[in-house]
């Protein structure tokens, strides 16, 4: 049973991971916890669904369309809303993203209804055996996608000029500006990246949790928890946090009983924060005067 619970948990965790990474990327460059991140994904899933159903796109073109749309959405969010209040305190930024959450929820509900919709299965539903556990091919493909995106991000942040500049802005925006890095453009890029990740998260998860305006609520919260778990600044931390939460949830559900399953993530985060207030990989700031 352990193997099966573990593998299923890993699969679920990888679904949280993309959202967690997006939460980190936006937070560390803009101090914003983006509560609309899940809804970017939700809109992305709907866009892909419409492209497939009404315009007869194939899966990959629909995914590409969704990615383009979500990047636009992210950029729009930055230009129209977040830039206006960029200098405000943390709480204001947080609440503004909540406003975007309401709007996107309403827009999706208005145009596509509150019904749960199926997303066409793209892969053979026959499951396969991995290390004594059974896993569906869709999950395997999703994990592969997530890993591929992780790799792309790694290369982007490690080797490209804009990627390194993004990390430099995270580190110290003022000095980054002194180096000639256009900080505002980097922030725009950050939101674009949030949209990019959102589209993948939404389209990949859609066949599993189906498409509805509320589809990402639970995933967003788990993603946020995972991001905090990893310390809110670390992308590998967020990924590890997401996988850990997926696995622990499933193990708790399996061994302690399903009552404990959904609260596991929160029990974990409360315990962690009680002992490490800046997350697992967070920077413990020195008390400087």
């Amino acid at each position: 049973m352990f193997g099966q619970l573990f593998i299923s948990g890993l699969a679920t965790g990888s679904l949280y991971a993309l959202t967690a990474v997006a939460v980190v990327v936006v937070f560390r460059n803009t101090r914003t916890i983006n509560l609309a991140q899940g809804d970017f994904s939700m809109i992305g899933a709907f866009v892909a669904l419409v492209l497939i159903k009404s315009f007869a796109f194939n899966y990959y073109f629909a995914l590409a369309g969704s990615v383009v749309f979500c990047i636009g959405l992210g950029i729009l969010a930055e230009r129209v809303v977040m830039r206006q209040i960029a200098d405000s305190d943390w709480l204001t930024l947080f609440t503004a993203t909540l406003g975007m959450y309401y709007i996107l929820h309403g827009v999706a509900g208005h145009f596509w209804g509150r019904d749960t919709k199926a997303f066409p299965l793209t892969f053979d539903p026959t499951p396969i055996n991995v290390f004594g556990g059974i896993i569906s091919q869709g999950h395997v493909v999703n994990m592969a996608w997530a890993a591929a995106i992780g790799l792309v991000l790694f290369i982007f942040f490690k080797y490209t000029k804009q990627g390194i500049a993004m990390r430099a802005v995270t580190d110290d925006p003022e000095t980054a500006a002194l180096m000639g890095i256009p900080v505002r453009f980097i922030v725009l890029l950050t939101w674009g990246m949030a949209g990019f990740l959102a589209a993948f998260a939404g389209v990949l998860i859609a066949p599993i949790i189906y498409v509805s305006p509320e589809m990402m609520d639970e995933v967003l919260i788990k993603g946020y928890v995972a991001a905090v778990f990893g310390g809110l600044y670390s992308i590998p931390g967020a990924i590890i946090g997401a996988l850990l939460i997926g696995i622990c949830e499933n193990l708790a559900g399996g061994y302690l009983g399903s009552h404990f399953k959904t609260v596991t993530a929160f029990a974990m985060i409360v315990l962690l924060l009680a002992f490490r207030p800046h997350g697992l990989f967070g920077i413990q700031k020195r008390r400087e005067v």
Binding site: M1, S8, L15, T116, I134, S136, Y210, S212, E249, G253
Partner: protein
């Protein structure tokens, strides 16, 4: 500024006067004029269970159809739905508004166990007929009042029946139960426990899930590990789809029966036909693809007024209350429409086959008796999903 204030006063004055005129018509009940009958319902149009707003849409479609065909005995039915977000405190205020401001004649086909629990005392106290509320919670179904007309049987009775089903159809000795960790699931569980004793069956695994849970794999894995002979699934359509997907994935071949509120074309649509093949469902309505004329008519009506909607059992919940109410008004003819007459007329509906429900047979509730005898849909049927459609299935004891 000043002018708008004045016009506001004028409008308010007119409002008060017209209200007064309204109350003066003594013969008809509140909300009833010679042209119109106002009935109301609260629905979760937004918020966490907004997908159940389908019930309201079903009822609304029916009344739109009635009005488009000239109403009933010359009266139009005005069906007012208000969003309560599934928050009981809001439901309470909305119902008070229905009663005090809008003067609703009756409350027809509202949705929700928790919201209804919060307002049923008030509704009964005011003598408002409550017809076909979408709730199977014991308090609402067994309420001691003649004005309450519950829609479907309480969940615990269904639970007991499902245990019998696993024994007599599947020949099961040890079963597993997956249930939604809320009032519906837990009430099912209560009934199941009664059934276990009654039919001498063991429950070797029982796993709950939260309505929004992303992944239900651990629950199904536990079923597999407990080596159950059969499963009872007290699941709403979306989670049911997840359960059957996982079940197919793990190759868990044991027979399954699902409670009636999970019986929806959504399930095979979301999970894929193969995963749902051979699953039994309890049901209280006819199938959407049943050639029965009333179902086909309902299908046409829903498609006409809510073209985006996919046909679901929850729509039929709404249809049921709406159709029974319309029938009662029709039977009341051209006389005064009062609440007392409505109750009498409803209780007089016996062996009526004119709705989406196979037979409506409403009993009589005497003073101090429980409303359970008022059930609009007293009987439960079964279907099995085979070859891409739900097919009627008759268990041995019903033959």
């Amino acid at each position: 500024m000043r002018r708008s204030y004045k016009s506001f006063i004028t409008a308010a004055g007119v409002g008060v006067l017209s209200l007064a005129a309204f109350g003066a018509q003594a013969a008809n009940g509140p909300g009833v004029t010679d042209k119109e009958i106002l009935i109301c319902s609260y629905q979760p149009m937004t918020g966490k269970v907004s997908s159940y707003f389908r019930m309201g849409k079903g009822a609304d479609a029916w009344f739109k159809h009635v009005n488009a065909n000239g109403g009933i005995n010359g009266r139009m039915i005005k069906y007012k739905m208000v969003d309560d977000k599934y928050e009981p405190a809001r439901t309470k205020n909305i119902v008070k508004r229905f009663v005090e401001r809008d003067k609703c004649f009756a409350i027809v086909a509202p949705l929700g166990s928790a919201p209804t629990k919060a307002v049923i005392d008030y509704i009964v106290e005011k003598g408002i007929p409550l017809i076909g509320a979408g709730t199977g919670a014991a308090k609402n179904v067994f309420y001691k009042s003649r004005t309450v007309f519950p829609l479907y049987p309480p969940y615990d009775k269904e639970g007991t029946d499902l245990v019998r089903f696993t024994k007599e159809v599947f020949g099961a000795k040890k079963i597993g139960v997956i249930y939604q960790n809320d009032a519906s699931g837990k009430t099912h569980l209560k009934g199941i426990e009664v059934g276990l004793k009654q039919y001498g069956i063991k429950m070797v695994a029982s796993e709950g899930y939260e309505p929004k849970e992303v992944d239900l794999s651990s629950q199904v894995i536990k079923m597999k590990n407990a080596n159950v002979d059969a499963m009872i699934c007290s699941c709403a359509p979306e989670p049911a789809a997840k359960v059957y997907t996982e079940r197919a994935k793990l190759g868990l071949k044991v027979p399954v029966v699902n409670v009636f509120f999970g019986k929806s074309p959504k399930v095979p649509e979301l999970a894929g036909q193969a995963a749902v093949e051979g699953v039994y469902f309890a049901t209280i309505f006819r199938e959407w693809d049943d050639p029965n004329e009333h179902i086909q008519k309902a299908k046409g009506i829903l498609t006409k007024y809510y073209p985006e909607e996919q046909h679901d059992a929850v729509h039929l919940w709404g249809f049921t209350g709406a159709q029974v109410f319309s029938e009662a008004i029709k039977r009341m003819g051209s006389g005064d429409i009062t609440r007392a007459r409505l109750l009498d007329t409803l209780e007089g509906i016996d062996n009526w086959k004119g709705s989406v429900v196979p037979v409506v047979d409403i009993g009589e509730v005497g003073p101090g008796e429980e409303a359970i005898k008022h059930l609009l849909v007293p009987s439960m049927n079964y279907v099995v999903y085979k070859g891409g459609k739900f097919q009627p299935f008759t268990p041995p004891w019903m033959k």
